[in-house]
Amino acid sequence: MPKLDLRGVVKQFGDHMVCNGIDLVVEEGQMVCLIGASGAGKSTLLRCINLLEPIEDGAIYLDGQDISVPGLNPQSVRARIGIVFQSFNLFPHMTALENVMLAPRRVRGQSRAQLLPEVKALFERFGLADRMNKYPDQLSGGQQQRVAIVRALAMKPEVMLFDEITSALDPQLVGEVLDVLLMLKGQGMTMVMATHEMGFARQAADKVCFLKDGRIVEEGPPQSIFETPTQDATQRFLARALK
């Protein structure tokens, strides 16, 4: 049974078909990269998986359970699927530590004292041990993005979604964040990421999906997508992206 299974997912904003029947299978421990031009629907698809956007048609299965049933309480699902955004979205009125502890405290009812050891360990693992008590505006972009990742991880999600988490960062900070993803992959985390980092996708992805106009035009292991794309659209996109 795949960890995550999307079947014919349709998402519309008014008349605008943003996801137009998307089928996607993500196996446990896989890293899937979504690539495609701006406006192709990558972010929207991730938001649908996290139930931040309701879908019009199709179904999304997590461990074989349909999580897209209308009326299902999204909270329990979201606690199992973490998402990290391009713009970090840290809570500016809380320190890094408070940002990270908020959800476990509120959703799982754990106390600060209970949480502190494991959260501290997370901060250390991501090289943020001395930044814990800083506010977001006292952190660099790369640090903020790593805090955002730690925040999502603190809920111990089974799947992590990443939406172009490096595109707001200076080039020298990008590596810092991508290293974190490799580390997670090493630990067997199931991940779906929308990215423009073709080099990273090629090196780290188990599967690459090329989206265009709300459809997955082509998918496969990175070698076949990047070296022998079969579709014209993919070729054109890669020609421009890899230039």
């Binding site: 996290n50 931040l52 909270q75 979201r78 955004f85 713009s87 809570f91 959703v107």
Partner: protein, 277 residues
């Protein structure tokens, strides 16, 4: 010649320091000129002696000031218990208006009606209607006190305004903050309480400061239904002494409180503008 000067300042710093001295000099000169002109010219006006006698009468001021100060304690008292109530009620109304669950639809309607009504009616009318109207229903003392119902009128009116400010504050929190909080598995309520509200409230502190200043002045409207606060006390002195100086005295007392508060609100506002940029 480029390069650091003997004072250790860069060329730019020296230029800026010089500009600053120049502006300060110009500002000081023009201020002194204007003040001097007022000081010397106004007394030349033909009616000055009369105006001074009835508005700026030192003797009357000295005689009435302590009593005015005493009456101002009533203003402070009414303010002190109204302001927290306004903050709480205003916040509740704002939340009621943003309630999403259909079960809370009546609450939303109520919130909307509340803000429409109490923002639409002049404060003094509300003070009259509630201050005399509700006690007129036959409440026993002390429950019919004008202090209670007059304060309630202020609280209701100001809550309506304060609620709208809170709402604008809630709207000013970027929706991505909500999305981020929801994605972590927080409930709508938790998102509101832990993520949206703290930011919203911080964003509207300067605007709410201005409401507090307005409230401090509007407390005087309670004088219409009985309490002898500073405005009424000044009016009594005016009638008694046939002199307007007590009003000037009351104005001075108000200004001593409101000017620092206003400056502080402006300072907060300016700081917020800088942070936004």
């Amino acid at each position: 010649m480029p390069g650091p000067s003997t004072a250790g300042m860069t060329r730019r710093e020296r230029y800026e320091a010089q500009q600053k001295r120049r502006s300060a000099l110009i500002a000081a000169t023009s201020t002194v000129t204007v003040v001097a002109a007022l000081y010397f010219l106004v007394p030349l006006a033909p009616g000055w002696a009369k105006v001074q006698q009835s508005f700026f009468n030192g003797e009357v001021l000295i005689k009435t000031f302590p009593k005015l100060l005493d009456a101002f304690r009533i203003n402070v008292m009414i303010f002190a218990w109204s302001a927290p109530a306004i903050a709480v009620l205003g916040l509740l109304i704002a939340l009621a208006r943003d309630a999403k669950s259909p079960a809370l639809f009546p609450l939303r309607i109520f919130g909307a009606a509340f803000t429409d009504v109490f923002r639409g009616v002049p404060v003094i009318l509300t003070v009259y209607l509630i201050g005399f109207g509700i006690p007129g229903l036959g409440l026993p003392r002390p429950w019919n006190s004008p202090y209670i119902w007059g304060s309630l009128a202020l609280i209701l009116t100001y809550s309506a305004y304060v609620a709208e400010i809170f709402r604008s504050g809630i709207d000013s929190v970027h929706h991505s903050q909500r999305a981020a909080a929801l994605s972590l598995g927080l409930s709508e309520r938790q998102v509101m309480r832990d993520v949206v509200l703290p930011q919203a409230i911080r964003n509207v502190v300067p605007s709410q400061m201005n409401m507090l200043i307005a409230l401090q002045k509007d407390v005087s409207l309670l004088s219409f239904i009985g309490p002898v606060e500073i405005f009424r006390q000044a009016g009594v002195f005016k009638s008694l002494l046939a002199n307007f100086t007590p009003y000037v005295g009351a104005a001075i007392i108000f200004l001593v409180v409101t000017i620092p508060a206003t400056r502080y609100a402006d300072h907060l506002m300016a700081r917020q503008m800088r942070e936004r940029r």
